[in-house]
Amino acid sequence: MYKNLQVSTTYVLSHLGLIFFVYPIDVIESTSQAHWLPVLFGFAFHLLVVTIYLKGLRYFKGQNIVEILMERNKFVAWCILFPALLYMAWLAVLSVRGFAEVVSIAILSNTPLWVLNLLLLVIPGFITSQGMIGGILRLSVLLGVLFVVPVVFVIATSFQNADWHYLFPLWPDSGAMTFLLKPHFNMSLFAYSGAFLMFGFLPSFAKFKPKAVYWGSLVLLPAYLISVYVPVLTLGEQTARQLQFPYLFVVDTVEINWLMFERINVFLLLSLIAFFMFYISLLIWQILCVIQLGIKDISSNYLVPIIILPILIGCLCIPDWRTAGQLLQWSMRFQLFVVIVIPGYLLTIGWLHAKKSKAESKNL
């Protein structure tokens, strides 16, 4: 049975949790005009990598990435899987720490940070250990149904104060492509590369068609554009640049007389927290997958706490927001390396595999 819907909601939700926070400011800082260029560039990069990845996976029907790699040279397999493992754990550390800070700035200013970190890890861990991937996939549909109304409502109302003149000039003048060299543009790729590795782990648990993913990406593109353009349209580029989380700020300026709630920010934040926890549970499951299939099949009841603990310690070792940003910037090269090498390698061995089996069938 195909699980196309579940896979596309999983894909969309796990990305939505990452888009609305640091992504807008990274894009705004990477260029001073025509912000759609870096957004579309990043998106094209994302689609390209996803396409290569899915193409590679299709050569091995119903096998997941760990099985595919382990069947071949074990040494090479670990050369690929170990960085991937590090990458996923690193993602979890940085994003949990970052998100805890966001929650602290936005709503729970009195709560100690370690509690927030723990909260953002224990609940996803619980989701993973209870449901494994079947549960996570089904959960994505449930979360989608529950939160789509508030999120769409907030996104629609965030246009309230938009001044469309800020859209211009639409075409950049000379030197438009300089954003490619800016470290902030590199960092903005984080929102594109954070979650898509999951496709490699799915095939042996849930069948899906690549079409499901491409449909999902159609939902994501407007989200990327809105998260950057709403702050620019409301505040102007110069002002948006001053803010830490421009999109959240703009949502705070929305005034709705007939609504009994003063700050609609809360709706958005709570929905995004749900999406974010969902994303972390997915990450934990991927790490779990690599360990169970690649090293030893330990019961997930023990393995999940073992995975969470080092991530939590990692989170607690990051003292402040700036360090988190700096660490992200430093590790971006490594992250991009992993993100490019894994799909590329998969496509190559897939192609060789197909060629070989073709030759074999001819010989018979």
């Binding site: 200013s109 002002t239 700050r263």
Partner: protein, 352 residues
Amino acid sequence: MIRRILIGTFFLLMLSGCWDNKDINHRALPIAMGISFHQGEYKVYLDIPKVSVNNEGIDVVTANGDSISAAVNKISVNMESQVDLLHLKVIVVDEPFAKLGLEEITSNIIRSRHVSPKTMFVISDEPLDRFFTRINNETDGDGKEIYDFFQKDAGWNPEIAHTPVWKVFRSIHSYTNDVVVPIVKSGESTTIESMGSAILKNGRMVSRLNNEQTLFYNVFDGKSLEGKIEIMGHSTVQIVSSSIKNNGRFENNKPVLDSVLKLNVTILDTSGQTSIKDFQTKLKKLLDHEMDQIFQKMKRANADIFGIGQHFRNELPRTELAQWRSKYLPDARINLDIKTTVRNTGNLKLND
């Protein structure tokens, strides 16, 4: 199963979000804050409604400090409950402070996240001491007038400027946007009296508009709902709806803004014999004259309160746009075309 229930209950109890929470009866929620600045020291006034069954009015507490948060903190230390600025609606500053510049407190407000960016800035036309004592006079009102005065669903009128903090913040960093903020003082027969509005350029008060000019400013800005225009010695009309279309272009290297203002009005009162035509020309003349005056004032102050520069974003590259206020605004011109429709004349007929 039991283990799952146990874990679930554990989460429910531990994650209820009540960490270090202070109950609402232990919080003081000011609705207005006054800030004045004298010789390097801020004086902060907080308007805190007394929470009780029979609405006993309002407490005004004050403190001095090197910064606003230090002063607020001093108040919090000395009060029996914790000051929470979450529901602050109005920030009142006195005129000398506004002339000195509000950049710093604006960015501090935006930074803190305790104060909502929707809070309004208001300038007081009299010393804050006097203002706060007089508006909280116990014999008239419940002390929440300052709150209701600026609420769009309560006492706000189109003659009053409406500018939240985030717009002031935007104007400080923007090349092409300046703002107007309301000026008030304590009134004689009403609690508060509107005195027009101040033009803030980069967060500094540079000029002022009277009540009527503020209304025209709001009309031009698209916030004119139900505004009443008095045509001196002739009649009064009420604006039912308005729309404005702007188009920026360059003529001999000078920026020209073509504006078409469409007004839908109803007639409230007239004096003497008049006709709709007559009345339309008079209204047009009045608006032209008033707009011209505001425009002259604005040019003198070099502050782009109408956001005229916004319409030239396509014509000017960014480096030029950065010099909009100094290089282009002094030469700018508005071609205002006003089209009035008299929707109805009330219960009485009026000749064409």
